[in-house]
Symmetry: C2
């Protein structure tokens, strides 16, 4: 998800909704706290000093060229106006440190440096300021530091998310230049290097898929800190929709059940006054609910507990969280009309599904809520509770065809009868209609240039999973090769918050410098390849 939804996106009634928030469930909060991981730490060093040269064929229109080996660095010196770019070889999340030495007679004045931590080339090849963005520019990954006494070690106290570090010497003094050595990052993650190495290889010899799987895992690992962050660069927060996809990918890779359980309890610790759940929570400076409320995220809490229970075998947690799950469905179900059709206009609470502008959400939300009801019913069976939504499922299943336009062969949404990929995806995932019909609808919109396409990897994931679940495994693979494969071909070390193969500067925030390039909701290819497409890949590799 993204931060500071701001005036552009947040419904006006959010302030009212905020008032519903009640006190923290201390027992759940304590349980979450007890599950807080000690982060694993390791030291990584830059591989080389580079510059970027123009390259019209590259996605970012430039390519990195080594200008010094890292061994040469400590012999170089940098004075006022000089700069250099260090390349760590891949994406890191952690704490940067460096030794600033002196080349000169005396370090007779402080050193003033600007450090910029880049996930992609633009971060370090361009000036980040001013930034034409409607979210906060305080996310921009640059710092100006003043260092009084050289030589000295400088340990940057904040955590950064980067592959490149640009260091600009704003000033030293006429009497000295700066030498740089001991450059390193103390990388951090809930997942140790051993645990990362222990993930079984992808059962495929397809190098593209192996690469996509690897990038997915790095993305996920770098987002796994003391919570599943949405992005370690921005906004470093735990969102339900993102968490669900991260957790699914985690279960088939790192298998960190403890961190997933912690995150389930963090939300359960913060129910709002009407038993709904906040869309996100803040861990720091103290546990608190984000003010954002999103209907679909609320509904997805139950399926997330179901996924956890199946993966971990831990029934107790599901039993303890059962009342929270039931609470989380109240508000979504308020949106059902007399026919059992989801009506987004029933409240002005935020229905998200995707960041794409103007998305009609009735159809997609119908599919999503129906999907959630079914998953929760399955969870009930696991923990020997009566399924709470049998009747609802029946009613919504009956209503689902009302979204289907027989003439067009697709699901439509809203009074404008909007045709979007997301509507097809969620109605397909809900199993409201038979798989061939759903696959046909998906295939149709994907070939229709006037259909509303997804904007985010989050929405692309649901399309990809829907394809595979409806027998469109080959189409799913093609979409993955186009979309996530496109990021890989563009040079991604980790998958991005957004990707438009045609426009490397596209941003939902007005300026790509405020995009996040290691973003949790794009880490799902490992889940798709290892779980959803597992049998298909096995079958096709044998064939």
């Amino acid at each position: 998800m993204a931060s500071e939804s701001g005036e552009l996106e947040v419904p006006a009634n959010q302030k009212v909704e905020r008032l519903l928030k009640t006190n923290i469930n201390e027992e759940f909060a304590r349980k979450a706290e007890s599950l807080k991981p000690e982060l694993h730490q390791w030291i990584d060093r830059p591989l080389s000093v580079i510059k970027f040269e123009p390259d019209p064929d590259a996605f970012f229109k430039c390519k990195a060229v080594q200008i010094h080996t890292i061994e040469e660095l400590s012999k170089l010196s940098y004075g006022k106006g000089d700069q250099l770019i260090l390349d760590f070889g891949s994406h890191r999340v952690g704490y940067f440190s460096i030794n600033l030495g002196v080349d000169g007679i005396n370090a007779d004045a402080p050193a003033r440096l600007r450090l910029t931590f880049g996930e992609i080339p633009y971060d370090v090849t361009e000036n980040l300021h001013p930034c034409n963005t409607w979210i906060s520019t305080s996310w921009l990954p640059d710092e100006i530091i003043n260092v009084d006494w050289l030589p000295t070690d400088v340990d940057m106290p904040r955590r950064y998310s980067f592959r490149y570090v640009k260091i600009e010497v704003i000033d030293a003094s006429p009497k000295y230049k700066i030498r740089l050595s001991e450059v390193k990052v103390r990388a951090v993650s809930a997942i140790s290097s051993d645990a990362a190495s222990a993930v079984s290889p992808l059962e495929s010899t397809d190098q593209e898929l192996i690469s996509i799987d690897r990038i997915s895992q790095v993305t996920l690992r770098n987002c796994m800190q003391t919570v599943f962050e949405d992005g370690p660069r921005r906004d470093r927060r735990l969102w339900i929709g993102d968490l669900r996809l991260q957790a699914l990918t985690n279960y088939c890779t790192f298998k960190d059940f403890s961190l997933a359980k912690r995150c389930l309890y963090l939300f359960a610790a913060l129910p709002r006054g009407d038993d709904s759940l906040p869309a996100c929570v803040f861990e720091k400076p103290k546990l608190s609910a984000g003010s954002d409320y999103i209907v679909d995220y609320d509904a997805l809490y139950g399926p997330m507990v179901y996924d956890y229970t199946v993966a971990s075998g831990d029934l107790e947690t599901a039993i303890e969280l059962w009342p929270t799950i039931l609470g989380s469905m109240k508000k979504p179900l308020v949106h059902l009309d007399a026919d059992g059709k989801f009506d987004s206009k029933a409240t002005d609470s935020w229905k998200f599904l995707d960041w794409v502008a103007g998305l009609e959400t009735d159809a997609g939300m119908h599919g999503l809520v129906l999907f959630c009801c079914k998953e929760i019913n399955k969870l009930a069976a696991l923990i020997s509770k009566p399924p709470p939504f049998t009747e609802t499922v029946e009613k919504m299943t009956t209503a689902a065809p009302l979204f289907y336009d027989k003439d067009l062969g697709v699901f439509v949404s809203g009074s404008s009868r909007q045709v979007s990929w997301s509507s097809q995806a969620w109605l397909a995932l809900s199993g409201a209609m038979d798989a061939p019909t759903c696959l046909q609808a998906l295939t149709k919109v994907m070939g229709d240039p006037t259909a509303v396409k997804p904007l985010t990897p989050y929405a692309y994931h649901h399309v990809a999973e829907a394809l595979a679940r409806c027998g469109g495994e080959e189409q799913c693979l093609k979409l993955m090769r186009d979309y996530w494969g496109g990021m890989a071909r563009a040079g991604a070390d980790t998958f991005w918050e957004f990707f438009d193969a045609e426009d490397s500067r596209r941003s939902p925030y007005g300026d790509c410098h405020n995009n996040s390039y290691c973003h949790a909701w794009s880490c799902t290819p490992s889940y798709l390849l290892r779980v959803v497409l597992k049998d298909y890949l096995a079958a096709t590799s044998k064939a």
Copy 2:
């Protein structure tokens, strides 16, 4: 003194001179270390939130107007683009801290602030960047900070020197503004509040002199840290010429003999290869000699030990430092020609006396070196050594009239026969000719608009002291009222590195934003009033 003398001022052979530097005298270094003071600390808080309004009659063309009481501050909130100025009421040296609170739904993004620590209004009423200066812009007193998790306390790790703090909110987020509370400075000095309060009142009822004396003491106290710094804002270093004036003022006010002794040993620990002394030393990150060498500063080391011995009664230190003193005179005396006249061209080592451009230094240096020889001879008598410079004093005294132009009635210097205040001052202080002649010469140049005037308070001090020592006490007082009194009338809380009553923007560094406004070499009025003019003030107050 000033930092980074840079290409403009440092003679080309300094690099050669640097090679003369030998190893540290570890015993003296240990002695200095053992005398390092624990700094006294106390908490001060701002008095109000102010703005500056135009005021054409004020020196800085503006006046401070309170817009909020400090009690109101914590109820205010500041969002993107907002700023405020806090006024601590007077000059402080120390560590700034603040609590950043949240006014809004969620602090869902970091806060990015610029903090600017101002000694004078221009520091906080103007943009400091770009700064048109030939010394390092890294001295500029502004910081940009990014704070991840609000609410939180922010403790700025560097020491600042300021009265005003400007806080600009570069960005917060659409969801919150920042509240400020717990604003404070942990002020530091080698001199405790008790010791500062224990200084005897000035024996005068003249309010102007009382005010000048008070400002001098604040200036000195704020420069007294673990060494006598030249300026706590810039360049925070121990220079011989500055130290001598600070120590003299200290002996008649705070009487911190230990810190003075420490500083004498710091220089003695760092003799250069030819036994000369560096013009300045660096305490941090480890004790080392500055690369600057200044002939006059070298020579002034002995008189400084003499002053210390007289003030403290500690003969042992003088005995231990005696070889250092003899070493420090070697290079200055190399400049005497066959007639015993000081010849600046004899070496191209730096002769300072003042920052004023184009100063001819033969005459002034002749006076200064003669003065030093006499002081060292007096010290020899105190510690029962044979006076080392009897012959030199005789020779230089005989030569001194060669600088005197009988027709003009002033001392002249160099082949251009330059007439400057500094030449008169140092030859007067040396006692080379009779007091009435010297006073007449001083009076003459001070009435001659073509004479080279001093630029720095350092040079003004020597003129003022020379006047008083030659019977011109009333002229000394007038100069003090004009010069230091002028700073007081311009609003100085502490005396400045430079002052030009006609031009509030004047700077020897190209840009007044890089001036220092609490600078040790301007702290001497307390010494002049309490020692040099003591009898005169007593006599005139009785009259």
